[in-house]
């Protein structure tokens, strides 16, 4: 990229150069250039990621581990190298601490099934009301299977975990076996004090699971600093492909867990009357893994590392600040979640009300925005209990990544004003 548009200058990143790596960003939608503000839903992919996948499939494809010929060795080498890259990216102690799954949801279900195998009535599992469905339903199903009780953190008016209430209620106590919390809320943008809650959990002997789906893609990650025992995240939100996610776990913890899915590659010795299982991570990777997808995720991690996660985070702060300021000046917008940048990620959700007091439904907001090329998400964002808690059914969400520009944010703000007029009878 040679031309640097004024709107694409950021203090932290050369956004124009970044954008030139993402072919989709040059697309037209409805006859206008795309402004993609739905990265919390799924991120776009740089050409390097897609090329890594294509090259692998077209030049080095074979099954891993079990195939030992030249192509098999190449495929295995590429797959395990990707594991090492992902491990380094989150600060894991060793590559074997990374279990590849199909997405964050599988990672959280894997955590629920293996950690929860021995749960009994009376045991308690703690989540929060701001969780994504993928960090609620697996624990509900676990509670149903075992008779354990599911409890949850409430939130404050500002959209932060209500620690005072949790303390007053004795939410985390000697009956608590598992605490599972999102690092960054996919709706409110709140960054939770995970390390502090991990301290509470560990003090009562509970295991701390962290849903890093919205954290790992946007913030420098150190599993040690997070204080987590298990950390789930997903490839497609961090510039990687679909079809791959990961569960990081402390090695000794992983080594103590029973298997989850059974099949090829997760075994040690199979006899018809009983089997023994491989050590982690393979114990948890039944069947042919997402090989090309791991290679793609490895390339995504390389790309992010080259940008620098500090720079990515700083850039997203700039975008978020611009967005928060703009929204606060747009009539009819009610912001959900923290209004300032302290402990705040880049997902910004809001509702929109017309001048005649009519709340525009987020699907209709989304549709009007889409007609102007602006892609956002409208709905409950897989966080229906949070919306219930906020007393609303749905909201509209704008979210960013390394390639997002303030010009795109401005187009969103313009389109919101248009939408408000459209539904407010001013058309």
């Amino acid at each position: 990229m040679t031309v640097t548009d004024e709107t694409e200058v950021s203090m932290a990143l050369d956004v124009a150069a970044v954008r030139s790596d993402f072919p989709i960003l040059t697309r037209d939608v409805a006859g206008v250039p795309l402004a993609y503000l739905d990265s919390a839903n799924t991120s776009q992919k740089p050409r390097a990621v897609v090329d890594a996948i294509s090259d692998h499939l077209l030049r080095h494809n074979a099954n891993v581990a079990r195939a030992m010929h030249t192509l098999g060795a190449e495929a295995t080498g590429a797959f395990e190298a990707a594991r090492a890259k992902v491990a380094a990216f989150v600060g894991a102690a060793r590559p074997e601490e990374i279990v590849f799954t199909k997405n964050a949801s599988e990672a959280l279900n894997l955590a629920a099934h293996t950690l929860g195998a021995g749960l009994r009535p009376g045991d308690e599992i703690v989540v929060s009301v701001m969780e994504h469905h993928s960090n609620i339903v697996p624990w509900q199903l676990l509670a149903q299977r075992t008779g354990a009780t599911l409890r949850w953190f409430d939130i404050t008016a500002e959209g932060r975990l209500d620690l005072d209430r949790a303390r007053a209620e004795g939410l985390v106590n000697e009956r608590t076996r598992i605490v599972s919390l999102t690092w960054v809320s996919n709706v409110l943008g709140t960054v939770n004090p995970v390390a502090r809650i991990a301290g509470w959990a560990h003090a009562v002997g509970a295991t701390m699971v962290v849903d890093g789906s919205q954290g790992v893609p946007h913030l420098p990650t150190s599993v040690a600093e997070l204080g987590a025992d298990l950390l789930a995240f997903t490839g497609h939100k961090m510039l990687g492909p679909t079809g791959i996610g990961a569960l990081w776990g402390r090695y000794e913890l992983l080594a103590s867990l029973p298997p989850f899915l059974g099949g090829g590659e997760m075994i040690e010795v199979v006899r018809m009357d009983g089997s023994t299982y491989a050590p982690p991570p393979h114990r948890f990777e039944a069947g042919t893994p997402p090989i090309a997808e791991a290679v793609g995720l490895g390339a995504a991690v390389d790309y992010l590392t080259a940008l620098g996660m500090d720079a990515v985070a700083a850039h997203e702060r700039e975008i978020t600040e611009h967005l928060l300021t703009g929204l606060s000046q747009t009539p009819g917008v009610r912001l959900l979640g923290p209004a300032d940048l302290d402990d705040r990620g880049g997902a910004v959700s809001f509702t929109l009300t017309t001048a005649d007091g009519f709340e525009v439904h987020p699907h209709d907001v989304m549709q009007l925005l889409d007609s102007r090329g602006v892609a956002v998400r409208g709905g409950h964002h897989c966080a229906r209990p949070l919306h219930d808690r906020l007393g609303i059914a749905t909201s509209t969400r704008a979210s960013s990544h390394a390639y997002t520009t303030t010009a795109e944010v401005d187009r969103l703000l313009d389109a919101l004003a248009y939408t408000r007029d459209f539904f407010g009878g001013a058309r």
């Binding site: 699907h363 549709q367 007609s371 059914a393 749905t394």
Partner: protein, 148 residues
Amino acid sequence: MSMEQLYQDIILEHYKLKSHSGRREPFGAEVHHVNPSCGDEVTLRVDLADGRVRDVSYDGVGCAISQASTSIMSDLVIGQPVADALRLHDEFLALMQSQGKSEPDEDVLGDAVAFVGVSQLPARVKCALLGWSAFKDATLRATAEEDE
């Protein structure tokens, strides 16, 4: 397609009007339908008598498309013979599945022709169908009740 074509005036009117909303007695069947991906919901009641749709009432949350469609639907079917109302459902379903390729007949579909633009947006078709599907479901249940 412009937004004015998609959200025709009649749709915006019904969105705010919500004809026949607010659940009423008596009713032969009540159903609850949800679009899980978007969170739109409708709880809808149908009252049948003498082979006709005597009343339709509902409470719903959802987008302009789903709310207006339910409102227009209730205007169209109330008072109709059950068979005609169900035929209307099928006509509307066919229109929604036409991917913008059909010329809806206003003589048959009345105000529901306004949703022709929606049929070009696969993601929104479910919105337009929510109330209609609930109506069909409730009607079949109410018919089954009557038969017993």
